[in-house]
Amino acid sequence: MTANGSVRPSYAQIRAWLDAMPIEALDVKRREAELLFRRIGITFAVYGEGGDPERLIPFDLIPRIIAAEEWARMSRGLTQRVRALNAFLADIYGNGEILRAGKVPEELVFKNESWRPEMQGMQPAAGAWTHVAGIDIVRVDADQFYVLEDNCRTPSGVSYMLENREAMLRLFPDLVSSHRIAPVARYPEELLETLKSAAPPACRSDPTVVLLTPGPLNSAYYEHSFLADEMGVELVEGADLFVDDGLVWMRTTEGPKRVDVIYRRIDDEYLDPLSFKPDSMLGVAGLFAAYRAGAVTIANAVGTGIADDKAVYPYVPEMIRFYLGEEPLLQNVPTYLCGRPDDRAYVLDRLHELVVKEARGSGGYGMLIGPHSTAAQRDKFTALIKARPEDYVAQPTLALSTVPCFVESGIAPRHVDLRPFVLVGRDIRIIPGGLTRVAMREGSLVVNSSQGGGTKDTWVLES
């Protein structure tokens, strides 16, 4: 639905289908869907959101539709943005041209927790840093796509993109086949190819790829095992790997087997107790050294967090101009860095109309939504911002567009965002689609699953 309440043309068929479908029938389908998800065991929270690992996230039956030309524009914008983010990482850990040019302040990088001095001078294979990037996008009106945030570390949620489509195919085969929908099912294959294309140059034969997980207690473990299965690669834990002779090996029943590419779903500081957190039980001693010596690819690269830091985010349009000489195709939400005195004063003055976020948080906990806030909440945030200004950024609330959703009271508009997944290896690939997250509560802007957000299938129409 557009901001003025009309329905986009791409939803015409869905509209007709909904009109013909009694609410009771939808309710039956919804229960069916729930059973389906329980049976598969797809239970997790999106990156960093914590929560009960066996909880089911609400699935909305009504697909979100993106027209072919909209997608074409969005995907050009995504490619551009992700190219710039990779160029930024190569530069920051290389010559630092953008710092010398004064386009990004040095201290923003060097004093940032997400910057890793250990990575200085590293040249990852194929020049790929963010092998998997998840870019969170919202739409404000018919033409404007805004990027809410970039996720360059270990973005999750792609299993939802795949399982949601599977569910729709089973529940509504006719509806699906009456649309020409771009398929998403080849994502695991594309991911595997991307990872293999970024194998160390020294690797001559077909590269061995593994997926490194923190283990079954992790909230995204389902996704880890799902992706490993779909790619046909081993799902390993730290204890399955070891470093010897400068190389990385996994322990198998046939003896040690060489590993070339590690798609890791654990955070930087847990990768290697020798180089990072000494008490990490999840990592592999010597892994980082083997990585620096070029014996193995780690995807995403170590230290990519500096590119998705919320305080660095305002500079992404500048990165696009600086590295690519192009104007950004996707908009940035205007962002005030509370660490800057002028910005801080502005933010403190207008708390009631701004959204305040932690610069390094994720998951929508440490967040103030000005228009929906109480005076007490605003006082709390005023104190927080004054105490540690660098830790907070603020943005205006956007007039987000909505899509129809099936909720308790029937069919009603709800706010959504979209996380498409961009793969970076020798080239950049984007699967047409992504994870649509829904703010299930009326009027809510928070789509995080930990805050009652749900998901729905995303259909990118082929022209």
Binding site: E106, K111, Q120, G121, D244, P273, A285, A289, A295
Partner: protein, 266 residues
């Protein structure tokens, strides 16, 4: 001066260890003030890389039960006295990166007070670093065994006792508070034939003075490094510049023996 160095590190495990992995930063590089004539680490076969700070780093793994791991580095370095001023060093990072705090150099109120003392009593940047060097040594008595390898700058200052590692980290922490980039250096020091102390692995700091570049400050000995010093590795703190750092898996206690010999031909 020609300095011949032999550095041996031996870990002995009471119960055999199943696995040991080590990072070894024991390779000095040539720059103005020191020229490496020859150098060898282990049997020369260990894989290596240049780390983020430009340190030549070896890593080695022993993945079968073992009771002892030994690392030997030896070689000869020719040095000249530059009054601590460094030239033509390998620099991988912009100077501004050395303003970054780390866990071990995170300042507390006492370190802030120390920095303010420096600010009050000295005007130029160079003076401030010299003053800081003296103050650090005044505040932290050199007592071997008083601190551990993981002691932070703030803990050492509170304790009032420490070793060269603590002096160097405290120096870095306070200098950064003063807006001056600073870094930790590990290397060797030849105390001279009449020296009271045994030669040993040593650590000091470097501060950045725009007019001069990087300048060494050995707070433990209250002096800028001379031709008696061999500079090996740098980092933001002692963790990043540790000569030998290892992780081992096994039960039972382990003991560490480090022997360093430095001989000089004058």
């Amino acid at each position: 001066m020609k300095l011949r160095i032999r550095h041996e590190t031996a870990h002995d495990y009471e119960a055999p260890s199943a696995s040991t992995v080590q990072l070894i930063r024991l390779t000095p590089r040539s720059h103005g003030g020191q020229r490496v004539r020859y150098w060898r680490v282990g049997d020369g076969s260990w894989p290596s890389f240049e780390d983020g700070f430009g340190n030549w780093t070896q890593f080695r793994a022993v993945q079968r039960p073992h009771g002892r791991v030994r690392v030997v580095a030896e070689g000869e370095v020719e040095t000249v006295d530059t009054q601590g001023v460094l030239r033509d060093t390998r620099e991988t990072l912009p100077v501004g990166a050395y303003l970054r705090e780390t866990g071990r150099t995170h300042p507390d109120d006492a370190i802030r007070a120390l920095a303010e003392d420096v600010l009050r009593s000295a005007n130029t940047e160079l003076d401030r670093l010299h003053t800081l060097m003296q103050l650090v040594r005044d505040k932290v008595d050199w007592v071997v065994g008083a601190t551990e390898s993981t002691t932070t700058a703030a803990e050492a200052l509170a304790h009032g006792r420490g070793v060269c590692q603590d002096h160097a980290q405290l120096f870095c922490s306070a200098a950064r508070l003063l807006g001056m980039p600073a870094r930790y250096v590990s290397g060797y020091f030849w105390p001279g034939e009449d020296g009271r102390d045994e030669p040993a692995s040593h650590a000091w700091a470097e501060g950045f003075v725009p007019a001069l570049g990087w300048v060494g400050f050995d707070a433990a000995n209250r002096q800028c490094p001379t031709d008696r010093y061999v500079r090996v590795a740098i980092g933001l703190d002692s963790f990043a510049a540790a000569p030998v750092h290892g992780v081992h898996f096994g039960s039972g206690a382990d003991s560490l023996a480090v022997t360093v010999r430095v001989d000089a031909d004058q």
